[in-house]
């Protein structure tokens, strides 16, 4: 077990390195730092001096991969690749293009993101499983048919409309909760209710349908028939046997996204002006702040790889049949 986990850890290193090289190519080779400087400073009439200054301030004036002017190990060290990409491995995100410390920003903005993403995930899971179980319990009835139709309809609506509609009806017409904003501590709850509800409703369509197929696959298996033959009622078999076994794929699917919850949701946060990492990313994209986008790409991949690792481990815990090889 320990050996397996260590091996998975070691596999994560080449993956992260690959991500690093990819972002490096994307950000520095496709367009040179000169191009970025011109873009930031405005297109025309930029003097060479201004471009040089801009690069110097942000440390983009080094060579890309190999510094001839330095000696010894510094030949590799004093380069953009080492300074900007390798340093990410130690979670030193450096300074954003507008001069703020990215690491401090991330630490501060992580919590609002989590405050919205975690309740959405938990409530969503509960609601979706309940709905799916109900559909399976009433299978082959009009109730099931109409709820499938409803699911397909819910699936076909863009998440933007859920947000706009929710804000309009609950926030503006009924005035139950504030339309947008955020506050520290417990006062944040009234700002969080609406986004959580909206993200749960937006997810019901596809998730409940998917869970339903998982449950239906289990329902037709032999052990369920045996359970019924023993004289258990339909609800007993469903909750006792079907639910437990169908939960395995559901839970492992959830484990992958657990670490990514820190990244927050891009559109929800920006619609509700919640100061989380999602809106941070969007702001960076709109301001074309390359340093922040690069850091977020790296952070996202790290979290995803952690998620993969957790999935592997959780498989071995919930399903004893899976032997580690």
């Amino acid at each position: 077990m320990i050996q397996y986990i260590i091996r998975r850890f070691l596999y994560a290193i080449p993956l992260l390195f690959g991500v690093n090289v990819l972002t490096f190519v994307l950000f520095f080779i496709v367009n040179s730092p000169d191009d970025m400087a011109r873009m930031q400073l405005g297109q025309k009439h930029v003097t060479e001096q201004a471009v040089e200054n801009w690069k110097k301030q942000r440390g983009y004036d080094l060579p890309l991969l190999w510094n001839e002017q330095q000696r010894g190990f510094d030949k590799v060290k004093q380069t953009i690749f080492f300074q900007k990409s390798i340093n990410l491995f130690t979670f030193e995100f450096g300074i954003s293009d507008s001069g703020r410390n990215i690491g401090a920003d991330i630490k501060q903005r992580m919590w609002p993101s989590l405050a919205i993403a975690l309740p959405s995930l938990l409530v969503g899971l509960l609601v979706n499983i309940t709905v799916a179980l109900m559909m399976v319990l009433f299978r082959n009835s009009y109730l099931e048919f109409s709820s499938i139709v409803l699911c397909v309809i819910l699936m076909s609506i863009s998440s933007l409309f859920y947000i706009i509609g929710g804000q309009f009806v609950i926030g503006k017409l009924l005035k139950l909760v504030p339309i947008s904003g955020y506050d520290d501590g417990l006062a944040a709850i009234k700002f969080l209710i609406l986004p959580v509800i909206i993200s749960v409703v937006a997810g019901i369509g596809s998730s409940a349908r998917w869970y339903r197929t998982l449950f239906l696959e289990e329902v037709n298996k032999d052990y369920v028939r045996t359970a019924r033959a023993k004289g258990l009622t339909e609800t007993q078999t469903l909750f006792k046997h079907v639910l437990q076994n169908a939960l395995i794929p559901i839970l492992t699917g959830v484990v992958v996204v657990l670490p990514l919850l820190f990244m927050g949701s891009l559109i929800l946060e920006s619609f509700f002006s919640i100061p989380g990492l999602g809106s941070y990313t969007i702001d960076a994209i709109n301001r074309q702040d390359f340093a922040i986008v690069r850091s977020m790409v790296f952070l996202g991949s790290v979290l995803y790889i952690v998620g993969l690792l957790l999935t592997d481990i959780s498989y071995t815990i919930v399903d004893p049949r899976v032997r580690l090889s």
Binding site: N31, M39, M155, F161, T281, Q288, F290, R294, S301, Y304
Partner: protein, 447 residues
Amino acid sequence: MIVLWTDGLLFLLVLMIVSLGFYLRGKEHLQRPLAKIKSSRAGMVALVVLFFFVIIGLMDSIHFKLANDKTNEVISLLDYWATPIREQQEKSYSAPFSAYLYSKELIRSEDGVQRWTYSRLKYGGRHLINPETEKTQDIAKKAALGFVKGAALFGFVFFLLWGLRKQQNKVLLPNKTSKAVWLTTFVMVSGSYTLIDLSTWYHVLGTDKVGEDVFYQTVKSIRTGLVIGTLTTLIMLPLAIVFGILAGFFRGWVDDVIQYIYTTLNSIPSVLLIAASILMVQVYMANNEDQFTNLVVRADMRLFFLCLILGVTSWTGLCRLLRAETMKLREMEYVQAAQALGVRRRIILIRHILPNVMHIVLISVVLDFSSLVLAEAVLSYINIGVDPTTYSWGNMINGARLEMAREPIVWWSLLASFLFMFSLVLAANIFADTVRDAFDPRRANND
């Protein structure tokens, strides 16, 4: 005639689908799933709706410059037909079917008195003398006329076909499904005729901030949605099929390398990868302005890049499915037999493996379509989607969102994009379900 990148690829795709259809015609093993699709009422109705969208999208993909036009503007066939709507531009917002502007302004009447009131629209309902009393009646009359026109056209074609079928002693409407299909066609044809007729006299779905007809905008957006939904799959399919089959078939180091590539790509959150790539495309375009002089060409290039990037980020899912399926197939008896008989590996891959994973490809293509259309709206909202000058539902929502705070609320842009996007995605979802039920062997014995 001007062929933009996405136009060319879109027509290439149509050509490929048509030739594939000819190639597969009469193939025995496809009869059962096709018959199943044909007998599904919801699936066929969805297909008719999709077909309508595709026709509009294809009409919007034939671009040319008008010969006697001085503005040097590239327009499409759809633009050409919609010239009256395109050119009837108002001053600013106006509600659907309204004859007045949305907001009050200062008007000087003939006797020199200035008044603060709603002024009449330049085009919408200009034929009315007194809109308050005449409008409802006029709309009903114009709508009925358009409906009759559409119904007449439909009736003509319908009875022609009916007569032809009758001569051969066949029935045109043998079952409920074909009745539903014809009914849908009837509703679509006469409905669009009604809308087209009305839109020359009124702004059916109002006008937007700069006074452009919202109905025209939302119809133009259909092409953007279709391009994103289809071209992306065109780009991702070769990657997914080649890598997936190779990884599953050869195992060993090939498998390791391919797995490494797709895990790496997968581990970057796709929105961020798309954002980073689009930022880079923007920088590139800003620094090479001379290559993108024409506004239409520039917007089209960005649309194409978006499809490219979406394709690169989305092939991993299908690749993994294909890899697993190929691993299962290579242990099958017929593949083993082929290997034992000394059939070359290339031939095994093409003749024995590829056709047997095609149902997975088909299912995932139709399933992905709707999610790509939805993704476009979200991406455009974050400003990393299509060019701001391109008509798209995402851009329409983005523009309308800022007007939510107005009183009374400007709702028609949202409604228009919602209606069209919803019907396209719903039709695509229903059709995808039908295709999956028909082609997935695991669901084959459920009926």
